[in-house]
Symmetry: C2
Subunit: 343 residues, 2 copies
């Protein structure tokens, strides 16, 4: 029997959870390899007993600055704002302060900012996506700064850091599948630059997969890459509409590009969705303010931000191991998508 005042051990956790100490150890070190039910039971025992994995963690806790960093690609257009807001609110509940750095989608800038946040004493980091050099993860491991990736799922890569995110490929595959199901055969995709953006690359893969699912050629997809921005979306829309056969549906890599596309359609005198359908991705507030309101993919911004915060806090306090989670997205049907017209 465990005395209430004793410091709980690994064996105490195993006893309480009704599993072997090896299982507890596996949950703490490689949670992905353990069945979810077992993982939950162990996590509950860890929390109930106030178990902290090792003495190092206690020392770490003592030197915590209660500051968490987030490194995001951009603050413009509020793409990441709602998720970060929920992240910050949850951190605030536990007495942590959030400091944010933005990279302009530049890998070198991101590298410098991650190192600056660690140098400034960040206890933990939130990152967006997995597109970065292995050296950075090694650096974070050496510095004992835990990180969680959001806006993406953990790839099949043993070295990847845990993710609290959503499946960009699957989300876009569902949306594109729905578009094709309405009868569209000529699709265009206006994508962000995919070179250092795994979210954009996955979304493109999703559209291609949906085409293949329906027996259409992925190579027939009209494809343009451009930085995220209203004006960029407008220019790209004019480009894809000049192709023949002209697309009847223009899928956009995010809502900002879609807003630009919608404005350009209006400027070109094209009825949306009568003559051309336009879709977005993210469901930021903007999507509802557009006219017509935008059909898009809803990303679980607030849920993702909150869960990421709780995961990091759980890890920092030794209450629960840092593990990955995949959240659901959904298609939000508004007024910019319809079956192809007969124009």
């Amino acid at each position: 029997m465990v005395e209430e005042t004793a410091i709980p051990t690994l064996a105490d956790v195993a006893a309480r959870a009704g599993v072997s100490t090896a299982t507890v150890s596996r949950v703490l070190n490689s949670p992905d390899k353990v069945a979810p039910k077992t993982r939950e039971r162990v996590a509950r025992a860890v929390a109930d007993l106030g178990y902290s994995p090792n003495f190092g963690a206690r020392v770490m806790a003592a030197r915590q600055t209660k500051t968490v960093g987030a490194v995001i690609p951009t603050m413009e257009n509020a793409i990441f704002a709602k998720g970060l807001q929920a992240f910050q609110e949850a951190l605030h509940e536990y007495g942590y302060t959030l400091l944010v750095a933005s990279t302009g989608y530049d890998a070198e800038v991101e590298d410098a900012q991650i190192r600056a946040l660690v140098a400034r004493g960040a206890d933990a980091l939130l990152l967006i996506g997995h597109s970065r050099g292995r050296g950075l993860y090694d650096f974070l491991a050496r510095q004992e700064v835990p990180a969680v990736v959001t806006w993406a799922v953990r790839p099949d890569d043993a070295g990847a850091v845990p993710s609290i995110g959503f499946d960009n490929r699957q989300a876009m595959r569902e949306l594109a599948g729905h578009v094709i199901g309405l009868g569209h055969r000529h699709l265009a995709l206006i994508s962000a630059e995919i070179a250092q953006n795994d979210r954009a690359a996955e979304r493109r893969a999703g559209v291609r997969a949906a085409l293949a699912d329906k027996g259409l050629s992925p190579d027939a997809l009209i494809y343009v890459e451009t930085p995220y921005g209203f004006d960029e979306g407008s220019v790209a829309f004019a480009q894809v509409m000049a192709k023949r056969p002209r697309p009847t549906a223009v899928l956009c890599g995010n809502d900002v590009l879609a807003a630009g596309a919608l404005r350009q359609a209006r400027a070109m005198g094209l009825d949306v969705p009568g003559e051309v359908s336009i879709t977005g991705f993210d469901d930021i507030d903007l999507a509802q303010i557009l006219h017509p309101p935008l059909t898009t993919v809803r990303v679980p911004h607030r849920d993702m931000g909150r869960q990421a915060a709780l995961a990091l806090i759980g890890h920092l306090t030794g209450a629960a191991p840092l593990s990955s989670a995949t959240l659901d997205t959904s298609i939000v049907l508004r007024d910019t998508l319809a079956p192809p017209g007969h124009t």
Copy 2:
């Protein structure tokens, strides 16, 4: 004659600028009290000689972390994003990293975050507006962390920190004056909560001043306060349109509220600007993407962000004293403002 290798003194600067040492001292300590031309001449001499105001500044330079903090009210809706982006780009040119904290317009959160940034070693801070307790400024002075306020001008208050900003009152006075000049007599203002937001308070004062300028009663202004947000703008628009006499022009405290108002007008079947005019403030990217495009006040986002960065860097490197600047705004006439209709 000054030897090239000697450490330049105050007297060297005075000699080079052709002014007295008292004038140099005044430029360094109370630049607002010195004529701009004299200030520039001294600043150039300071830069030419590489003069650093005091030995303390040298020590400070040596312990710099090359990190600058910005504490902003919100990351949502990208209200501050473009200014911050320019601020960060200028910092980056000089090797500084920007860390951003957001407060949710909460004074206590702002207080905690300013202290956290200083504790984490921020060399300098960018703040928004002047609405905060004197204690914070005393704290920053004790910690020798320079700060610059943006999005506002320096009030007539000897204790205020320097501002690189614009005159919210004058900008709104000009816009409201233009609206009244078109023939509008029944105005409404949808404002942010002004209690801890000097920018919003100044904008309201500007509308009232414009009414008085034209011999109209400021008290006849239909006035609603609400947090910044699309939905909040929609609700507030419905409220002000229920008043009698019904307003023919609805001025909004920022573009986000105006976007919500515009959506609500559409939902109510009201033609904009035929039946009611709507204006914004900020000219964020959103203003151009709305339909119809929004008439608003253009804030010098990029210029302000860049000048704020250069001012702080100049101060940190001892190259130039930190002084205030007031930048111009302008009215951007798009398609949501017209003379009152005859409905």
